[in-house]
Symmetry: C2
Subunit: 245 residues, 2 copies
């Protein structure tokens, strides 16, 4: 069923007004009076609606039923990824992690990041990523649009992750726990974070820092994963292990 997000929202008295780009999209989809659509409030509630009126640039719909969006996982997981060199890799991380249930996606700059965009460059990228996240959220039936952001420093990323119940640091060498065990030992959790590096991985001191402030330093099996694959693999494993897949 066609899905729209109306964050903030024009929902009042059981009637809802779709305008702007969404109304354009409704036109492209050739929606007619009587058609059913889902309008999600971006806060985990789906309004199942019937279209009642279509006018120039606006679509009016009546709410038939409002239900919790079934697609939202029980664990709120934040993905923190070292900014990849290639733009298509960051796009990929945003799209696939949205599809797979991430609640928030944060890019950061660490020691081995090759791309070092300035503030303006980053701002443009964030806008692009946010559009990709919205598209993926619609397509996969999410109840929120994951917020995408970029923080300048590795330290800031550590801080964000460390505020969750299960901060996981994906590392390819040294003293590590299996991801499976880290998740199992955490028991029933409501928040988690997955931190992965850029193409060249992390410096040893970065892993040590994370370990000292309470991250679980995790291995993800014997195969070397690309920087754009690692967050998705870890997220999928987390969703699977917590009954969200």
């Amino acid at each position: 069923m066609p899905r729209f997000f109306m964050v903030g929202s024009n929902i009042a008295g059981g009637t809802l007004l779709i305008t702007g780009a969404d109304a354009e999209h409704a036109k492209v989809l050739r929606l007619k009076i009587g058609d059913r659509i889902i309008v999600c409030d971006g806060d985990k509630t789906d309004h199942h609606c019937t279209i009642t009126k279509i006018s120039h640039g606006e679509v009016e719909a009546e709410v038939v039923e409002s239900v919790p969006c079934p697609a939202e996982p029980s664990v709120r997981c934040t993905i923190l990824a070292g900014l990849p060199k290639q733009g298509e890799r960051s796009d990929y991380i945003v799209q696939k992690c949205t599809e797979s249930g991430a609640s928030e996606i944060v890019f950061f700059l660490s020691q081995r990041c090759v791309a070092k965009p300035d503030a303006k460059g980053l701002e443009k990228k964030v806008q692009r990523w946010q559009r990709i996240a919205e598209e993926a959220a619609k397509q996969s039936g999410r109840g929120i649009i994951p917020a995408v952001s970029a923080v300048g420093s590795f330290a800031e990323a550590l801080d964000i992750a460390n505020k969750t119940e299960l901060p996981l640091f994906m590392y390819e060498t040294g003293d590590r726990v299996e991801l499976k065990d880290a998740i199992a030992e955490a028991g029933s959790i409501r928040t988690a974070a997955i931190l992965t590096g850029p193409e060249g991985g992390f410096e040893p001191f970065e892993a040590e820092l994370a370990r000292k402030i309470g991250f679980r330093i995790c291995a993800m099996g014997p195969r070397i994963l690309r920087c754009e694959t690692a967050p998705l693999t870890a997220l999928t494993a987390l969703m699977f292990a917590t009954g969200n897949l």
Copy 2:
């Protein structure tokens, strides 16, 4: 460590000769006498070598130690994917599933496939996919290069999958078992197959056919996955659940 595949192979008496494109690649990597490399036989054995001679177009190396490649999973999983409309999606399936431990990748044409390449078109695609698989196998440290192929019919794909111990059919609607339960109920297995559809999914009769010949019809959670994401998600879940991640 730089990794090469020598299938069939020039290994004799502990000395090994790298020629052709691999020798070119060694040049690009600026390998020198004394450098360590891994040469995999493509059959799960890694030869750790030291380079002993570099001449015009050839690199000679001495085998120091031959060990089983640690990256090969205990479950041999065949990915069978309905051919996506967009070429980049099939490329993606090959690359990511190779990284994630697939043993074989087979594309098939089912009812809702939009792309219907002829035999010659398919042959060219298979060559391209095979190169992508080789690249991904090197990068991720695999002990084999997954064979990539294309079969014309859905029936043929069913037949291939059904020869494994755990044929899984990913379906987005109707009477299904959770992927998690299907894997758990299978117990200790050595082979499995994951069958996923093209962009438009499967026709109900296709799912029924699969069910009747013994497939487990599986759900993968409440989020709708793109056709290029679904095989990777299912494979990652299988690897995770069987201790291969």
